[in-house]
């Protein structure tokens, strides 16, 4: 499948490859590592230096990649960004396609030394991410809350997974990747007719199969789990995970998005105003809703001396959403903010591509105006309906050493 976002608005052209497969724990480490090993050497570019020199010579084209989970899918995103051929050199689009093809498929052999090097780099990256305590505390929340679910597993694989991946397994997984992963190509920018023809020539294997990819895995529980861990930090990280059984595309989906927006998605939200501004309890506080999984979480950095008060105030705010109707006026703030975000995302080439891709995955095409209309239609009653579905699951505290 080739998706196209034709627009003259931007001064760049993006060629994006999406490789999708069913997510499985065994493949996380491999799929995270793959894009880096592929750029260490190809048939044509004998080492990293030659590979990166080619990117520089293409007017500093940038090649980025990342692997993530969307519901139960694992998607490897590969994106080549080039200055618009109309501003530099007309031949540069085909040059870009050729380069990408070489990058993914030009591997008669791999070098074990390169593999080991990239493995070390990934391992060090995973380790250093633990330095970011905000992020680390969130990862720990998911690990604790979803310990028997796919969601609780680190998308880059654990340190052990990465360490245990050997060269032979890597090579056989690459072969399987070529055979089994499904490729979608997205072109964006000033895309001329002949660019499509060229893309078909270079990537005749692009295809697409529809499937329900949402992650419905959950657990039954009566008691709220509470976990406290300690680290040498000066500010306590308080994270709370909730189950919110509403998934993307369902009736209450947009209402759930607005519920999250009103609770903690924006700076006009209740958590920000009441926990941060009114009580000065924390520096940051935010809530996030994942509609591919049906969970919502609140994360905050709080004054170590006032953790209990912060917990109490957060609980009160959440409870209030179930006991009293939000006013139209307050709801409108969140509606406006979301509509503004939607419109703004139309100004970002990357965000437009994501919308295009997710719509294809969900098989739900809608225009900007239709999406706005859906937001406008949500009522205060629906917000309360969503609030009542919310169930507190886990409290995770990364505390200062006391």
């Amino acid at each position: 499948m080739i998706l196209i976002d034709q627009t003259k608005k931007f001064k760049t052209v993006l060629i994006t490859l999406k490789f999708k497969a069913k997510a499985s724990k065994d493949a996380f480490a491999f799929r995270t590592l793959l894009p880096s090993v592929l750029r260490a050497k190809t048939n044509l570019y004998r080492n990293r230096m030659a590979f990166n020199e080619k990117l520089e010579a293409m007017y500093g084209a940038s090649l980025t990649s990342n692997t993530n989970k969307i519901g139960r899918l694992s998607v490897i995103h590969i994106q080549l960004k080039i200055a618009s051929p109309s501003l530099t050199d007309d031949a540069s689009f085909e040059e870009g396609l050729k380069f990408l093809k070489e990058y993914i498929y030009g591997h008669k052999t791999f070098s074990e030394a390169d593999f080991e090097l990239e493995k070390r780099l990934l391992l060090e990256e995973v380790i250093s991410k633990e330095n970011d305590k905000t992020r680390f505390a969130l990862t720990r929340l998911f690990e604790v809350m979803c310990q028997d679910e796919l969601y609780g597993y680190r998308t880059s694989g654990t340190k052990e997974d990465i360490e245990n991946l050997d060269f032979k397994t890597f090579k056989s997984m690459y072969k399987a990747f070529l055979k089994k992963d499904e490729l979608q190509v997205i072109l964006s920018g000033d895309i001329k007719e002949e660019y499509k023809t060229l893309t078909n020539q270079y990537f005749p294997n692009a295809s697409f199969n529809q499937s329900d990819f949402l992650d419905y895995e959950t657990k039954t529980f009566d008691a709220i789990s509470e976990v406290v861990e300690h680290d040498q930090i000066s500010q306590t990280k308080l994270n709370i995970g909730y189950r919110l059984p509403v998934w993307n595309g369902q009736d209450l989906h947009i209402a759930a998005l607005l519920f999250n927006a009103a609770l903690g998605g924006y700076v006009h939200s209740r958590l920000f105003l009441n926990v941060r501004e009114k009580h000065s309890l924390c520096y940051y506080i935010s809530s996030v809703y994942d509609a591919y999984k049906g969970i919502l979480f609140i994360y905050s950095g709080v004054d170590a001396k006032r953790v209990d008060l912060a917990k109490k105030v957060i609980d009160e705010e959440v409870l209030k959403m179930t006991t009293s109707l939000i006013s139209e006026k307050e709801l409108n703030l969140s509606k406006q903010a979301m509509i503004n975000d939607l419109r703004e995302s139309e100004d970002s080439q990357g965000a437009r591509q994501n919308v295009l891709y997710v719509q294809a995955l969900l098989d739900k095409k809608s225009t900007l105006e239709q999406r706005i209309a859906k937001i406008e239609a949500v009522t205060p009653k629906q917000i309360m309906e969503v609030a009542k579905l919310l169930k507190k699951d886990t409290v995770y505290l990364l505390d200062v050493e006391r």
């Binding site: 931007f10 760049t12 230096m49 520089e56 007017y59 700076v267 703030l333 703004e344 100004d347």
Partner: protein, 427 residues
């Protein structure tokens, strides 16, 4: 209103200087939904010492006051919060303080005129009380503490402290727990009156709007404010010696892997020359340390660096430095190897082919940056400070020669090098 066309890029810039001294610049982008507005004062963390225009006397203020002032600007006399008000208009508001600027900004797709009017209103309505200052001290102290937990932040400022004796670049933009305690409502008013006069500010609009309509809104708004003309503010910056402070320091922190920072202090040029130096230095560093370079790939193979390896130039008023940072399992060896590589550049015949390729890269990346209204607007203010337009940048890059790089490399000297390690603390 003055209009300049930049045909290569299919862009135009409108400019008007208002009676009260405010400079207004507009770059219309008709096919975007969004409009991005920044209201910027030429006042940042560097500006701690100046002549108070009211009294004519020299004042010294505590570190972090510019950032503190930025936080306090959002409190309005009627107890409303400007941030919330803008949020109610459906736009995304923000503000930030850097070494030499403070910017108040918003972006939105709706209510842009009302938001613009309000932006001018709240930034031109100072309101500081002793109790609100006290409360803010708590919030900012939390913010500073949070940064203390960021190893990369500690590394960066630790290195600047090793390199700079007197220049305020050695202090965090937000100040310190001690310095912010000295901030009072009176001091805030003093700073505000000096630096928030329209003649010290620039208003930049980028995005979807009619320039004529906007300039009228702005003029009407400003005409009502009754600002009197204020002359240029005299500021004092301590004279920074060439010498560095410390050639090495270490910090123990909760990190998984040691971090190394290596800095080299250089002699900064003035005005446009400083900008050219910055471009030339960036190309030089790219030639020898980018992902296509032999040096970087050697370090990688030797297991001394990983993807966290970064380098950059620091170019600020009276400051020019090179900074390298990386996680590493062997800080000592990495420092030694990297120092030798860097110092060897002054004896090397620089590779012309690589120079031309990386100049092309710099050009392509500049074109790419023009996609984002935010980056156009931010770069605009930066280049405007140098007296040039953002669309003049390509010709400035084009004019850089290999000789410019050679001249800079001659300054590289071991006695201006400093290193810092962040080491995992023993539990």
């Amino acid at each position: 209103m003055e209009k300049v066309n930049y045909q290569n890029f299919n862009e135009s810039i409108y400019h008007e200087l208002l009676d009260n001294g405010l400079n207004v610049y507009m770059i219309p982008k008709k096919d975007y939904h969004k409009t991005f507005v920044t209201f910027t004062t030429n006042y940042g963390s560097f500006d701690q010492s100046f002549i108070d225009p009211k009294t004519g006397k020299k004042v010294n203020q505590p570190a972090g006051i510019a950032h503190f002032l930025e936080h306090k600007m959002f409190s309005m006399p009627d107890k409303t919060d400007a941030f919330e008000m803008l949020s109610k208009l459906g736009v995304n508001a923000n503000a930030y303080t850097s070494f030499d600027r403070t910017s108040y900004l918003f972006s939105g797709t709706n209510n842009v005129v009302a938001a613009l009017d309000y932006l001018l209103h709240y930034v031109q309505t100072p309101y500081f009380t002793p109790s609100s200052v006290k409360k803010e001290q708590g919030i900012i102290d939390e913010e500073l503490r949070m940064y203390q937990d960021y190893p990369s932040q500690r590394l960066f400022y630790g290195l600047l402290q090793n390199l700079y004796q007197k220049h305020p670049v050695n202090t965090e933009i937000g100040g310190t727990t001690e310095s912010i305690k000295k901030i009072t409502a009176k001091k805030l008013y003093q700073a505000y009156d000096a630096f928030y006069h329209p003649s010290n500010m620039v208003l930049v609009l980028v995005g979807n709007f009619e320039p004529e309509e906007m300039i009228n809104v702005i003029k009407d708004n400003q005409a009502k404010k009754g600002y009197k003309v204020q002359s240029k503010i005299e500021r004092f910056m301590p004279k920074e010696p060439k010498k560095i402070v410390e050639s090495h320091s270490e910090i123990d922190m909760s990190v998984m892997m040691p971090k190394v920072g290596l800095g080299l202090k250089l002699v900064p040029g003035e005005g446009l020359e400083a900008l050219k130096q910055d471009f030339a230095l960036s190309i030089l560093l790219d030639m020898y340390f980018s992902s296509s370079s032999k040096y970087y790939n050697d370090l990688l193979k030797e297991g001394l660096v990983n993807e966290s390896f970064e380098y950059s130039t620091i170019q600020e008023t009276n400051v020019l430095s090179i900074v390298f940072t990386s996680d590493t399992s062997n800080p000592k060896l990495l420092e030694e190897r990297l120092s030798n590589m860097l110092l060897s550049l002054k004896r090397k015949k620089l590779n012309e082919q690589a120079f031309l390729r990386l100049k092309k890269t710099m050009m392509g990346q500049f074109i790419m940056s023009l996609n984002s209204l935010e980056s156009i607007s931010m770069s605009f203010s930066k280049y405007n400070g140098f007296g040039i337009s953002i669309f003049d940048v390509p010709s400035l890059i084009e004019a850089i020669t290999l000789d410019d790089l050679v001249v800079l490399s001659k300054q590289f000297n071991k006695k201006y090098l400093s290193s810092i390690y962040i080491l995992p603390s023993k539990a």
